[in-house]
């Protein structure tokens, strides 16, 4: 039915278009054809009207877009409970994160979205979505259980648009057995980190790994830049060409080029994790989300007892690993079912679910989830220690926080690659960084964000 109904409804649009293609000598045929179309199109509104009257007593229905994310997997089986309790019908779709962004952008940009509630990445798309008015303001939501820095990400002009969901922070994964064999302790500063990387590098094992693939590396080098005393943006002006930041690029490049796995400039987490899991990497810095997979015996060759997790070593001028809200929940400003959508949002970000998620090793943004007794008992002590350290000292961004973040990451990525390719010694690194700083500032200016706020 929908197959033909759609074609029929489409039918009465292009009458003029079709008639343009008829040659003059075929006027009579055309007239007959037009008459037929006219009759056909007159019939359509009757059907259409008939359709729209029916669903008056229909139960409330909402459309929810989730990411392919452990939290999405966690709540999906519980949605029937929510439906039974509230009588709201929930249509769920799960998408891989870049597809999710693309789908949301297409739907919102064309102004014909039917999405009501969706998972969203505050740092990647938050600013742009807020600026375009795609999130509905969450005036009635209780944000008291969330760290202020995480809530402020989704705020503009006193309104909050994003509920923080999952946090992650930078950690150092390391091989306890290799460290022991080298007679070393867990590195606590960058000098020790380099010494440990050198000591554990062998023909078979790389001493130190972190993302080297341009844009992907931007988030993981961020903590290094902070710890050297630099930053990407300062008051919405790009500043990653300061001597401190350039030193961080050099250090990161030197470590990866000398002690990193082969081909590191094309490696992101999806390439580095298997290397670590196969036992070919002694230390790996990346986000905390990977811990569960590293100690899962069905996924890793290294015994879980040999895998440790520690806070990122401190730098010469600071100790500020990033701790970011990687995922949040948003409400579409175009929603036709605001009450039902809000109800779902409240449920999907509730305390109960946050505790359940913590027990499934998902690190949640809610404060209360971390103090829950059952969580405290089960949580890995080393991982919990890195969280409390990052929560106290961390910096809430792992990338330049701006609308054109994707383009900015590409630009900064080129500096990272140059640093690695030259083992940190490039003489043109400073000039390259300055060139990219200017380019990022141009992006900020183009979006009207330069120097503001």
């Amino acid at each position: 039915m929908e197959l033909y109904g759609g074609l029929l409804r489409a039918g009465h649009l292009p009458v003029q278009v079709i008639s343009m293609f008829f040659a003059p000598q075929r006027r009579a045929e055309m007239k007959r054809f037009l008459a037929f179309l006219l009759i056909a199109s007159l019939c359509v509104p009757v059907f259409a009207a008939g359709q729209s009257e029916a669903p008056a007593a229909k139960p409330q229905e909402i459309r929810v877009l989730l990411a392919n994310h452990p939290y999405g997997e966690l709540i999906k089986p519980m949605i029937p409970e929510f439906e039974a309790k509230t009588g709201i019908k929930v249509n769920v779709e799960s998408l891989q994160e870049s597809q999710l962004t693309q789908k949301l952008t297409t739907e919102f940009a064309t102004g014909s979205s039917t999405v009501d509630v969706f998972m969203t990445r505050p740092l990647q798309e938050g600013l742009l979505f807020i600026k375009n008015g795609w999130y509905a303001p969450l005036d009635a939501y209780d944000f008291s259980d969330y760290p202020a820095t995480s809530v402020s990400l989704g705020q503009k002009d006193g309104k909050t648009y994003i509920v923080p969901l999952v946090t992650e922070w930078q950690v150092l994964y390391y091989r306890k057995d290799l460290l022991r064999k080298a007679g070393l302790k867990v590195p606590t500063n960058f000098t020790e980190l380099e010494a440990a990387a050198k000591a554990m590098t062998s023909a078979d094992v790389a001493g130190f790994g972190s993302r080297g693939k341009g844009a992907a590396a931007v988030t993981q080098i961020s903590s290094f830049i902070y710890n050297f005393g630099g930053n990407y943006l300062d008051k919405n002006v790009a500043v990653f060409n300061t001597p401190e930041a350039v030193e961080a690029f050099r250090y990161y490049g030197k470590l990866l080029a000398n002690y990193g796995p082969q081909g590191v400039t094309s490696m992101s987490w999806e390439n580095l994790m298997p290397v670590f899991q196969a036992g070919k990497l002694a230390m790996w810095t990346d986000a905390s989300v990977f811990y569960g997979q590293l100690v899962d015996p069905t996924k890793t060759q290294v015994p879980a007892a040999d895998i440790g997790v520690a806070q990122l070593p401190a730098g010469p001028k600071g100790d500020h690993p990033f701790i970011v809200v990687s995922w949040g929940f948003g409400l579409s400003s175009k929603t036709q079912n605001k009450a039902a959508a809000t109800q779902f949002l409240e449920w999907a970000t509730s305390k109960d679910l946050a505790v359940k998620a913590m027990l499934a090793n998902i690190t949640m943004a809610r404060d209360s989830a971390w103090t829950d007794p059952s969580v405290k008992q089960k949580m890995n002590a080393e991982l919990a220690a890195t969280q409390s350290h990052a929560a106290k000292n961390g910096y809430p961004f792992d990338r330049p926080f701006m609308s054109a973040v994707g383009k900015a990451r590409d630009l900064i990525g080129e500096v990272v690659i140059e640093a690695i390719d030259s083992k940190g010694t490039s003489t043109r690194l400073q000039a390259l960084a300055t060139e990219k700083v200017n380019a990022v500032n141009d992006l900020l200016k183009a979006d009207g964000e330069y120097g503001g706020k």
Partner: protein, 271 residues
């Protein structure tokens, strides 16, 4: 003509040089689809390992790939069938009446980057309430299938001698009748080629399906991403679903290849 041993060796070496780089990724994919995650990432790579069917159980159990298989089939078959229905007469008319400009116009539609169609389509289909319907997907996939049909078939029709239709028309057939009863049966190899090609293009299409399909009509290439989640890639699942997607396409090609060859040799006009 006899081949010397030297020639045979050269032939085999060249064959190997071509085959190894093309076959190896597929072989690797096939092997990996039967491995556990630990064996997939193992270094050095394992060629002897414990075979597991877990990945396929996931593909057809948890992820309901049969449904996506159905969706892809419905969309592919309908799009190709509709394209043949419209495209065959169009190609015939282009071939017989020399409407080269129309050909170019159709080619332009194919050469334009697909993404430029997506926004307008999205707006039109959502206004018409056609999102997540097969109609929208089939219509969009016709953009892929129709130009292939028209181009392959008009070239094919041009190779058929006019005398055949003319003799049919002398016997009293209309031109339409000659087309249906004489030209189409003679064109089986061409039709099979056009059908196979356009079906495979539709089968593999990612971009249109990604934007225009939703939960209900999701097609296979989109469903592969079900195995990639945030900060985690289930390589076994990805490999198993890739094998699942490729198998029907490979089987189809193998079956129809035979027909294409047979048709080409038998359909020729002798003398």
């Amino acid at each position: 003509m006899k081949t010397t041993i030297g020639q045979r060796i050269i032939f085999l070496v060249v064959l190997l040089l071509i085959l190894v780089p093309t076959i190896f990724p597929f072989l690797w994919m096939l092997l990996s689809s039967f491995k556990s995650q630990v064996d997939i990432i193992a270094w050095p790579p394992k060629f002897i390992f414990e075979v597991t069917l877990r990945n396929y159980l996931k593909v057809f159990g948890e992820q309901q790939f049969l449904r996506y298989l159905m969706n892809s089939s419905i969309v592919g078959i309908s799009a190709v069938a509709l394209s043949l229905l419209i495209g065959l007469p169009a190609a015939y008319s282009i071939a017989r009446f020399g409407q080269r400009k129309l050909m170019v116009l159709i080619l332009v539609a194919r050469l334009m980057p697909g993404i430029s169609f997506l926004m307008p389509w999205y707006i039109i289909f959502s206004r018409l309430g056609l999102m997540d319907s097969y109609t929208a997907l089939i219509l969009s996939h016709m953009l892929i299938a129709l130009p292939v049909v028209v181009w392959v078939m008009s070239a094919y029709f041009e190779t058929l001698p006019r005398e055949m239709e003319e003799s049919a028309m002398i016997d009293g057939a209309t031109q339409q009748r000659a087309f249906v009863s004489i030209i189409l049966p003679l064109s089986t190899p061409g039709i099979v080629t056009a059908t196979t090609l356009s079906f495979i293009f539709s089968w593999n299409n990612f971009m249109f399906s990604q934007v225009l399909s939703m939960a209900k009509t999701r097609t296979l290439p989109i469903a592969i991403y079900n195995f990639m989640s945030y900060a985690e890639v289930d390589w076994g699942g990805v490999m198993a679903s890739a094998v699942t997607i490729m198998t029907p396409a490979i089987i189809l090609t193998m079956i129809f290849q035979k027909y294409v060859v047979k048709g080409l040799t038998m359909g020729a006009v002798k003398g």
